[in-house]
Symmetry: C2
Subunit: 200 residues, 2 copies
């Protein structure tokens, strides 16, 4: 199977190797980019591949530093154009979400990010709390669902009530920004460093 032009282009971008070398490497590996990188590197034709992520979205990395550096937060808030990313409204949103993360310390961005085994364990614990209550199973199931909602609001950034205005969740803030800018606004990821928390 001959290498496509798109594959050759991608391999060139990832390795900096010449076009014919890239084509030959792709032919040799049946179009497997990762293996082709290895082939080129063994021939000394490519640099150690940097993990280069393609920039598919615009937006900004919001940040917040608390207490002179005892807590630090980064959050990636995305929109569709640099034009919107540069507006004061968008920049304020990114800063406010970063401040929220510093204060509320979520674990995940959204519900879908919670590992299944963590969720199962939560369910098990909630169910055990009502095991001897004599309530019917369907009632307990509803109570467990309700408790899971509270759990989401504790650990998921999007489900958390804003620290500044507890009547609004972060998700509602993002939805409002989407409506206002006319662009799809999303939170991709965040990180929160607290001084000393990794020390044993």
């Amino acid at each position: 199977m001959a290498a496509t032009a798109a594959q050759v282009k991608e391999l060139r971008e990832k390795t900096g190797a010449g076009m014919m070398d890239c084509k030959a490497a792709l032919d040799e590996t049946n179009g497997d980019i990762e293996k082709a990188i290895e082939v080129l590197r063994k021939k000394g034709l490519a640099q150690a591949a940097k993990r280069a992520g393609r920039v598919a979205k615009d937006g900004m990395i919001g940040h917040y530093i608390h207490m002179g550096g005892k807590v630090g937060v980064l959050v990636e808030v995305n929109c569709e154009t640099d034009f919107v990313a540069r507006t004061p409204e968008f920049q304020t949103l990114a800063k406010e979400i970063a401040m929220h993360v510093a204060a509320a310390s979520p674990t995940y961005v959204k519900r879908e990010d919670i590992p299944a085994e963590v969720l199962d364990k939560e369910r098990e614990i909630y169910a055990a709390q009502f095991a001897g209550s004599g309530k019917p199973a369907n009632v307990i199931a509803k109570i467990v669902d309700g408790k899971l909602e509270s759990y989401y609001a504790q650990v998921c950034l999007l489900d958390q009530p804003s620290v500044r205005d507890p009547n609004v969740t972060i998700k509602q803030m993002v939805t409002a920004a989407t409506a206002k800018t006319g662009e799809n606004v999303t939170i991709t990821r965040f990180v929160r460093f607290k001084l000393g928390e990794t020390a044993e």
Copy 2:
């Protein structure tokens, strides 16, 4: 086996439950803190445990934001006392390391953080480059070692030459700070967010 006072204290701090409840839970689980937390939670006596890291070290979270938010970096630089953490010299060091990470984009803090399989793959690739060279095996081994040193200088923060002054590695900067402050200065972790790099 009776629970020790230290175990009861730790469990209380982690759950907010009462002392006698904590003692009973620990007795039930033979002193296993994690299981005791589960026991307390099943009884409805404990909140969902927050991942609380103990603050064993001082220092600061250095940060740097590049190009109005297209790249963001956090770095945890540790020392032993808040007194040193507050000095302008230490704060400058933390900022400079964060700026360096933004520019040089290391993958690991130190050599020991590189996974064994990654290192093996690098060795294999370097060796393959000289497989047909006719050089004796011990010479090739030395060349491979030399190439590994260059690899460390590419991917490990501590081995990287400073972007501002390429004659000095980050490790040397840290060592100089240790000498100057009289405290053990270390870099624990860093994170670098580049806008859009996680998008597919």
